[in-house]
């Protein structure tokens, strides 16, 4: 069990890095608490796997240090770090039984027989593998094999951290639900630091207490799922989290009013004038923009309405910019005309992609 400190960590795969774009991982400084559940989230090439490999010892960083509690492990081999790892594809010994596979990491460390048996039984129970314990791993489905991989990662009680690298990619959606909540329960029960790498926002947000969103080799925001959703620090986070992502619209800001295509949209905060060369945008999530019949707000052309079963999402255009809006169950939209209403409290202002602080208005209502 360990607190993980990333101290001025940076990595480049080139031998002689000069400019920022030479770095697959730009400098980061973080302390991840003992027992926390962290997710590293971002698209391919964002640096999340490089960071995971530095933590596991597969990659030695170009600069900086990594500490497990107070121990500098920067150059230690993976085996010397006291961590467990679960990969995207199942890693199991086909000729061994399921019980044998689960027991393997413990037998290797000469744990007493009775402790091994109790632990294997407990983990098998949590993962629903009790009934196949004596079967050879070879004949099991891909799902079951990945459960064994998870079990092997979880079976040691004394690890400093468990690292998961996209562990549910090969799992069917229905089973994903089950395994995800199982992992979360296990995390609570085992009190071990868990780090989970994924490009899937649902997996990251539902698993982690803290999500580390990465983009272009840098951490753009570290926050709770709620913070990432309600106050994205960067337009990239707004876009990447949420489905569809946050609407980003070019706008002019005058104090506590945004102007888009001549329409005035009230804001919950007031902003000072921004320098002329800055790109100024407002960001608002589709959940906080409501499409209503025309005549009750900002008029828009409706391009398409997606019925995704549980809710409807309208695709509209405002000032030539595409925008996604929600439609309440009770509302019917006829033809291609509609109007928009914004939840003022939920509109953010971004300059050059970064969240502008603004000053809360006193005594406003949403």
């Amino acid at each position: 069990m360990a607190r993980i400190t990333l101290d001025r960590l940076a990595h480049s795969y080139s031998a002689d890095p000069r400019k920022p774009s030479d770095y697959a991982l730009k400098e980061i400084n973080h302390v991840w608490e003992q027992g926390g559940a962290y997710a590293l989230l971002g698209p391919s090439g964002c640096g999340k796997t490089t960071l995971l490999n530095i933590i596991s010892g597969l990659v030695i960083p170009t600069r900086g240090r990594i500490l497990f509690d107070d121990r500098d492990v920067t150059t230690l081999r993976t085996e010397a770090r006291n961590i467990a790892q679960v990969f995207q594809f199942p890693v199991v010994y086909d000729t061994m039984t399921v019980a044998g596979n689960l027991a393997f990491p413990l037998e290797n460390r000469r744990v007493p027989r009775d402790v091994i048996e109790a632990r294997v039984k407990e983990i098998a129970g949590l993962l629903g593998l009790e009934r196949v314990l004596e079967r050879k791993a070879r004949n099991l489905t891909a799902d079951a094999k990945q459960k064994i991989s998870l079990g092997r990662g979880l079976v040691r009680a004394d690890v400093g951290a468990i690292l998961f690298d996209e562990p549910l990619t090969v799992i069917d959606p229905h089973l994903k639900w089950q395994l995800r909540s199982t992992l979360k329960e296990l995390h609570r029960r085992l009190n071990v630091t868990m780090i989970y790498v994924t490009h899937d926002q649902t997996e990251a947000l539902t698993f982690a207490d803290k999500v580390v969103v990465m983009h272009d080799g840098a951490v753009v925001q570290l926050g709770t799922p709620e913070e990432l959703f309600e106050r994205p620090a960067h337009t990239f986070v707004g876009h990447f989290i949420g489905s569809p992502g946050m609407n980003i619209l070019a706008a002019k800001i005058e104090g506590a009013t945004a102007r888009v295509d001549g329409h005035a949209i009230p804001l919950p905060r007031a902003y000072p004038p921004f320098p002329k060369d800055q790109r100024v945008e407002i960001g608002v999530r589709p959940e906080y923009v409501h499409l209503r019949p025309s005549g009750s707000g900002i008029p828009v052309k409706v391009k398409r309405i997606d019925d995704i079963g549980r809710r409807r999402i309208a695709r509209v255009e405002l000032d030539g910019q595409p925008l996604a809006a929600s439609i309440a169950d009770s509302i019917a939209i006829e033809g291609d005309e509609g109007s928009l209403a914004f939840d003022a409290e939920q509109i953010h202002v971004y300059t050059d992609g970064r969240l502008a602080a603004g000053k809360p208005l006193v005594g406003t209502q949403s």
Binding site: P43, S44, G45, T141, A142, D143, D172, P173, H174, W177, Q178, R180, S181, K184, E185, R188, H199, D200, Q201, T202, L205, T206, F207, T224, P225, E226, L228, F229, E230, H239, F240, I241, G242, S243, P244, G245, R285, E287, D306, D307, I308, G309, R310
Partner: protein, 379 residues
């Protein structure tokens, strides 16, 4: 609309109108193992058809039979009114896109897209027209001179899709084409695909394991379970009015919550000892034994109406996605998932009350057929 040039030379324009694929009692058995069981299906020109089912449900097997890569053990495959059962894939006008991005690594994107046209012996001017058209539709114009491995995964898969479209095939089969892409890329391509499909006019068959993907794509959906098609129809319709328990199960994400119950007059009792009032959908069925199914977003933390059924629950895990929360609860011996709006921080092991909207229940009889149809329609 003929998008990739009017091939009047080798096809009468009128012929396209009759394009359809009909499967009649198609069955596939190998060494006594049943892969596809008596599937009958009619797919029309210009239609998008989703095959929705879990891994090993038979999606790929069915597509291979449609393509002619495999031949059925029984039944007929009819294309445009002509029996093509037993015809090899080369004699049929089909294109396939796979989960793995398959391109020729040594050829440029342009030549990758052009390859089926070169094989068909078209003139270069015609090839250039069609490749440009496909590249425009798939937003590949800036990358035509690059090699596939210099592209992102999304661009590589677009290249494979462009190659499938450029052939002007009558049948295009896509086997989980977005499964290997990043979440956000998947979202983008998924939004573009219906537009691309509509512009092409071919018959599209799209296999996926994800109910949400089926809903976003629209078109028609066939739910597949153990080699059988349980229901086929317009996607939103199949989702809202599943004919049976199997379909409702396949087409629910999070998984469908279910309870076995016996209705007897004003009381509905579950095998596990839960007692509910016989309101809403329960009131529409005669006394007897049923399976009740309800989706996660029809189980709430507040009553939806005066008739809501209150159930005592213990929180197992609350998962928060930002805009909504998935609350896993234990109700007696049952584990249910409730999908509720907003952020709900609930301590594990805390006792709460969950509410079931009796109007949104699906009630299935012993054979698994939906019995509460009228009320389900109102939902």
């Amino acid at each position: 609309m003929l998008l990739f040039g009017n091939r009047a030379s080798d096809r009468q324009s009128g012929e396209r109108i009759g394009v359809s694929l009909v499967l009649e009692g198609v069955r596939k058995e190998v060494d006594g193992n049943l892969y596809i069981a008596d599937v009958s299906l009619t797919l029309g020109k210009g239609s998008l058809n989703v095959l929705l089912g879990a891994t090993l449900a038979g999606k790929t097997s069915l597509m291979r039979l449609m393509a002619g890569l495999d031949q059925p053990s029984k039944g007929k495959v009819v294309m445009n009114g002509r029996d093509v059962t037993g015809w090899p894939v080369q004699r049929r006008n089909v294109a396939m896109v796979y989960q793995q991005f398959i391109n020729y690594p040594s050829l440029s994107v342009y030549e990758n897209i052009a390859s089926p046209l070169r094989v068909a012996g078209l003139r270069s001017a015609e090839i250039a027209n069609r490749v440009r058209e496909a590249a425009r539709l798939l937003r590949l114009e800036p990358y035509l001179e690059r090699r596939p491995l210099e592209l992102s995964g999304g661009q590589q898969q677009r290249t494979a899709i462009a190659r499938a479209l450029v052939k002007d095939a009558e049948l295009v089969l896509l086997d989980e084409p977005l499964a290997n892409l990043d979440y956000k890329l998947r979202e983008e391509l998924r939004e573009e695909l219906p537009r691309i499909f509509a512009a092409s006019g071919a018959i599209f068959v799209y296999a996926t394991t994800e109910p949400t993907e089926a809903l976003l794509l629209g078109g028609n959906t066939a739910t597949l379970f153990k080699g059988r098609i349980s229901q086929f129809g317009p996607t939103a319709r199949v989702y809202r009015w599943p004919h049976d328990l199997v379909t409702a199960g396949v087409f629910s994400d999070p998984p469908l919550n279910t309870i076995s119950v016996v209705k007897s007059g004003p009381i509905v009792r579950s095998d596990t000892g839960l007692v509910m009032r016989s309101v809403g959908a329960f009131a529409t069925v005669p006394d007897g034994r049923y399976t009740v199914g309800f989706r996660a977003h029809h189980l709430g933390l507040e009553p939806a109406g005066a008739d809501s059924i209150a159930l005592p629950a213990i929180v197992s895990v609350a998962e928060i996605t930002g805009s909504e929360s998935f609350v896993h609860v234990d109700v007696g011996e049952h584990r249910f998932v409730a999908q509720v709006p907003g952020v709900r921080r609930l301590e594990p092991s805390s006792a709460i009350t969950v509410y079931l909207d009796p109007l949104r229940l699906f009630i299935f009889d012993k054979a698994g057929r939906l019995r509460s149809a009228e009320l389900a329609k109102a939902a």
